[in-house]
C-alpha cells in the first residue's frame, strides 16, 4: 500500500453484523491530523449529544495517528474515544504497547464500532480481511487468559490483542481496555462501553507498512530525533532506569504527593513504596518499551510470591498506595496486577477506594455495608487488594465502588469527598502546591487528568524551563500551549513522554516529513487548538454544566496542612478568567461563535 493522507476507517456495526470501509478526506486529516483529532471529528459527526452512554448509538473509536506504526520514536500510540460512562463527556484514552502499530499494519487507521452484539463477539482483522467471531468462551475471563487464548486462535505470534476484563463486562464506570497484556487505554471508562457492546476484544495482524510521503526525508528526520531522545538525561537515562516512579520522592519532597484522599501532600512512608525501593527490594526485573520506543519506561516486576507482571508505574503506585495511605509495596504491586487482570483503571479504582476510606473514617459508610469485606481504613493493604475483584464483579460493596468516587460520595450526601473534576478522579499531584497544574486539572476536557497539559514539567521538573509553581502569573498561557501541543502529539500517535526531550519544532518536522502537508508551526498548533475546542463544543452538547471547570472544594478552600506547601490553596480565580479570554471562550467556559468560525469548526 502506498502513501496516503486519507484516514481509512473500518466501520463495524455490531447490531447488524455489517463491516464496511470508509475514508475521511485529506482535508479532514490536514485539519485534525488523525488519532485523537480524527476520533473527535468522528464522535462529533456521530453523536447528537443526549445519547445514553450504554446505548447502541455511542460509538467506540480506536484511532491511530499518522505516525503510529512508523519509525517515529514512540510512534506506537493509539486512542480510544466514546462518550464516557464516568463523566458523560468526551472520553479519549491513550495507550501504547504494540496493538496500535499492528492495527496500522492492517491498512486501517481507525476502527469505529457502533451498535451492540446479541452475544459476546470479538473482531478479528487480518490485513484487509475483517470478521466478527464468537467470544462466548471468553466472556468472564481476565485480560491475560483472554489474550493468551486469542493469540492461539489467531495462530500468529504477531497478532496483537486489545480486550476487556470482567470490569468492562460488568460496566464498571472506570473499566479500561488492556492491550498487549500490560498497556491500558485507562481512563474514563472506555472498557465499560466496550462491555456494553458485548465486544470482548479486537485482534489485529497485518503486514502493510505505512509509507511516508518522502521516505528518505522522513528517515533522516526521525533518526535525528531518536538521537535527541537517547542523549537527553531524562529520556536517555532517568526514565529507562527508574521509570515514572522516579517521581514519588520528587513530588513528595515538594509536598504535593496527595495522601489519604488529598488530606495532605506529604506521605510519611514514601521511602517504603518509591521507585528506588522497587529496585532496592529486588522487585524490579527489567524495563520494557512500547513499539519503536527508545525510552522504554515500563517496569517488569516480580514479587517474592512469584507473581509477575508490569508496573506499578507512578500513577498506579500512588493511587493504590499513598492515595489510600497504603505503605506496603507488595500489596500495591499485587493490587496493580489485579487491576490489569480485571481491566480496571488503577487511578480511578485506587482513588475511589480512598474516597470510600474517608467516608468510612467519617462514619458515613458503616461496617455492616461491607458484607464481610475488610474495613475501609486508611492504610489497609488488605482492602486495596480485596476490593479490586469485588469491584470488577460488582459484588458486595464493590458494586458501589464500581460507580466511581463521585456517585459513591453523592450517595452519602458527601460529594466534597470525591476528589474529582467533572466526575473523573484526580491523579497524583496535589495542585495546592502547583498552581498551573491546578488550572490544567480544572479545565481538562475529560475531567481530572494529568495528560491533558502536564504543567508539572515546567513547574516542578524545570522542563523546558523552570516556572515558580506557586505563582499564577502567565500560567493561563502555559496551560493553553501545553493543552494544544498535547492534542497534537496525541493526534500524531506519539507518546507524550517524548516531549521531555522534543519540542514543538521537532514534532512539526516529523509530521511534515510524514504527511508532506508542510504545516507552519502556527498551523500545527492551531490543529491542537481546533481539537481542544471541538472537544469542548462536544462537551457542551453532552450537557457539561457551566462552572464545571473547577476543583474539589478541599483544594480551593482548605489550606494544605503541612509540608513545603503549607497554607496554600489553588488560586483558580486568578487564572481562569485569563484562560477563557485566551481561549476565546465565554465566561461559562464555552467557545464563542467567532472562535469556532476562526478554527473552521461546525459544532
Amino acid at each position: 500500500m502506498g502513501f496516503t493522507n486519507k484516514i481509512r476507517i473500518l466501520k463495524v456495526d455490531l447490531s447488524s453484523g455489517q463491516i464496511s470501509r470508509e475514508e475521511l478526506s485529506e482535508e479532514v486529516s490536514k485539519k485534525f491530523i488523525g488519532g485523537r483529532g480524527a476520533g473527535t471529528y468522528l464522535l462529533n459527526s456521530l453523536l447528537k449529544g443526549d445519547e445514553d452512554v450504554f446505548s447502541e448509538a455511542n460509538p467506540l473509536i480506536f484511532a491511530t495517528g499518522p505516525l503510529t506504526g512508523t519509525a517515529a520514536p514512540t510512534g506506537g500510540r493509539y486512542m480510544v474515544l466514546c462518550k464516557s460512562p464516568l463523566t458523560g463527556l468526551v472520553a479519549c484514552s491513550n495507550s501504547g504497547g504494540h496493538f496500535g502499530a499492528e492495527l496500522k499494519r492492517t491498512g486501517t487507521d481507525i476502527v469505529c464500532v457502533v451498535g451492540k452484539a446479541q452475544e459476546p463477539v470479538y473482531l478479528y482483522v487480518d490485513d484487509d480481511k475483517a470478521e466478527l467471531r464468537s467470544a462466548s468462551h471468553l466472556w468472564g475471563l481476565d485480560t491475560h487468559k483472554t489474550t493468551a487464548i486469542l493469540k492461539e486462535e489467531a495462530g500468529a505470534e504477531s497478532a496483537k490483542v486489545a480486550c476487556i476484563g470482567p470490569a468492562g463486562e460488568n460496566l464498571v464506570r472506570y473499566a479500561c481496555i488492556i492491550n498487549d497484556l500490560h498497556r491500558a487505554a485507562g481512563r474514563s471508562g472506555v472498557g465499560a462501553v466496550m462491555g456494553s457492546k458485548k465486544l470482548k476484544a479486537i485482534v489485529v495482524t497485518g503486514a502493510t507498512r505505512p509509507e511516508p510521503s518522502d521516505h528518505d526525508k522522513f528517515m533522516e528526520t526521525v533518526k535525528a530525533r531518536v538521537k535527541t531522545l537517547q542523549e537527553n538525561p531524562v529520556t536517555g537515562q532517568g526514565l529507562p532506569a527508574l521509570g515514572t516512579k522516579v517521581l514519588d520522592n520528587i513530588i513528595n519532597e515538594h509536598g504535593a504527593y496527595p495522601t489519604r484522599n488529598f488530606q495532605t501532600g506529604v506521605f510519611e512512608s514514601t521511602d517504603e513504596v518509591c521507585g528506588e525501593a522497587l529496585v532496592e527490594k529486588g522487585y524490579l526485573k527489567k524495563n520494557r518499551g512500547c513499539y519503536a520506543c527508545p525510552i522504554k519506561c515500563a517496569r517488569v516486576t516480580e514479587l517474592p510470591s512469584g507473581n509477575k507482571g508490569e508496573g506499578p508505574e507512578y500513577e498506579s503506585g500512588w493511587a493504590l498506595g499513598a492515595a489510600a495511605g497504603v505503605k506496603d509495596l507488595i500489596a500495591i504491586t499485587e493490587a496493580n496486577y489485579q487491576c490489569n487482570l480485571m481491566g480496571l483503571d488503577t487511578i480511578s479504582y485506587g482513588t475511589t477506594v480512598a474516597c470510600a476510606m474517608e467516608l468510612f473514617e467519617k462514619g458515613l459508610i458503616k461496617k455492616d455495608e461491607l458484607e464481610g469485606g475488610p474495613a475501609l481504613t486508611f492504610g489497609s493493604s488488605e482492602a486495596i487488594v480485596f476490593y479490586a475483584q469485588k469491584t470488577a464483579y460488582r459484588q458486595g460493596f464493590g458494586d458501589k465502588l464500581a460507580e466511581g468516587s463521585l456517585l459513591l460520595a453523592k450517595g452519602y450526601g458527601a460529594e466534597e469527598y470525591s476528589m474529582s473534576v467533572k466526575g473523573q478522579e484526580l491523579p497524583a499531584y496535589d495542585p495546592r502546591g502547583v498552581q498551573g497544574q491546578g488550572l490544567s486539572f480544572a479545565t481538562s476536557n475529560r475531567g481530572g487528568c494529568h495528560v491533558r497539559g502536564y504543567l508539572i514539567a515546567p513547574e516542578i521538573l524545570g522542563i523546558p524551563e523552570k516556572l515558580d509553581p506557586q505563582s499564577t502569573e502567565g500560567k493561563a498561557q502555559w496551560v493553553k500551549i501545553f493543552q494544544d501541543l498535547t492534542a497534537v502529539i496525541d493526534s500524531m500517535g506519539m507518546c507524550l513522554f517524548s516531549s521531555f526531550a522534543l519540542g514543538a519544532e521537532d514534532y512539526l518536522a516529523i509530521l511534515n516529513a510524514f504527511t508532506g502537508f508542510d504545516y507552519s508551526l502556527d498551523e500545527m498548533m492551531e490543529c491542537g487548538e481546533r481539537i481542544w475546542n471541538l472537544e469542548r463544543a462536544l462537551n457542551r452538547r453532552f450537557g457539561m454544566a457551566p462552572g464545571a471547570d473547577t476543583l474539589p472544594k478541599r483544594l480551593l478552600k482548605e489550606q494544605m496542612p503541612e509540608g513545603p506547601q503549607k497554607g496554600h490553596t489553588v488560586r483558580l480565580d486568578e487564572m481562569l478568567p485569563e484562560y477563557y479570554e485566551l481561549r476565546g471562550w465565554d465566561e461559562n467556559g464555552f467557545p464563542k461563535k467567532e472562535t469556532l468560525e476562526r478554527l473552521g469548526l461546525d459544532a
Partner: protein
C-alpha cells in the same frame, strides 16, 4: 552547623546512600559549597560538575531546600542554615 542532605533516584542507587548529614562551618552556607561536599561521596561525584558549571540547558538537576526548588530561590547561591533540609534529584520526569 548541621545540614541534612538526601539524594534520590540514580544518585541513591549509585551511592547506596539515602542521604548524609553534613557538619559545616555556619551559620549559613551556600548551596554550591554543600554540593561540593556531597560530591566527595562515592557515587555522587557528578554533583561536582553541577557545583562548578551550574544547570546548563535542558532538564536540570532538581535541588530543593526545604521543599523549594533552588531555581525559584537564589539558585546555587541560595544560603542554607542549621536544620534545613536539602534534597537532590538528577534530571527526571515521569507522569
Amino acid at each position: 552547623m548541621k545540614v541534612d542532605v538526601r539524594v534520590f533516584g540514580p544518585l541513591r542507587l549509585n551511592s547506596g546512600k539515602k542521604g548524609l548529614t553534613l557538619e559545616l562551618a555556619g551559620p549559613r552556607v551556600r548551596l554550591r559549597e554543600i554540593l561540593k561536599e556531597v560530591a566527595k561521596v562515592k557515587g555522587l561525584e557528578e554533583l561536582e560538575g553541577v557545583a562548578k558549571r551550574g544547570f546548563g540547558d535542558g532538564a536540570p538537576f532538581i535541588i530543593l531546600v526545604d521543599g523549594r526548588n533552588c531555581l525559584d530561590l537564589q539558585g546555587l547561591d541560595t544560603e542554607v542554615g542549621e536544620g534545613q533540609k536539602v534534597s537532590i534529584f538528577p534530571p527526571s520526569a515521569g507522569g
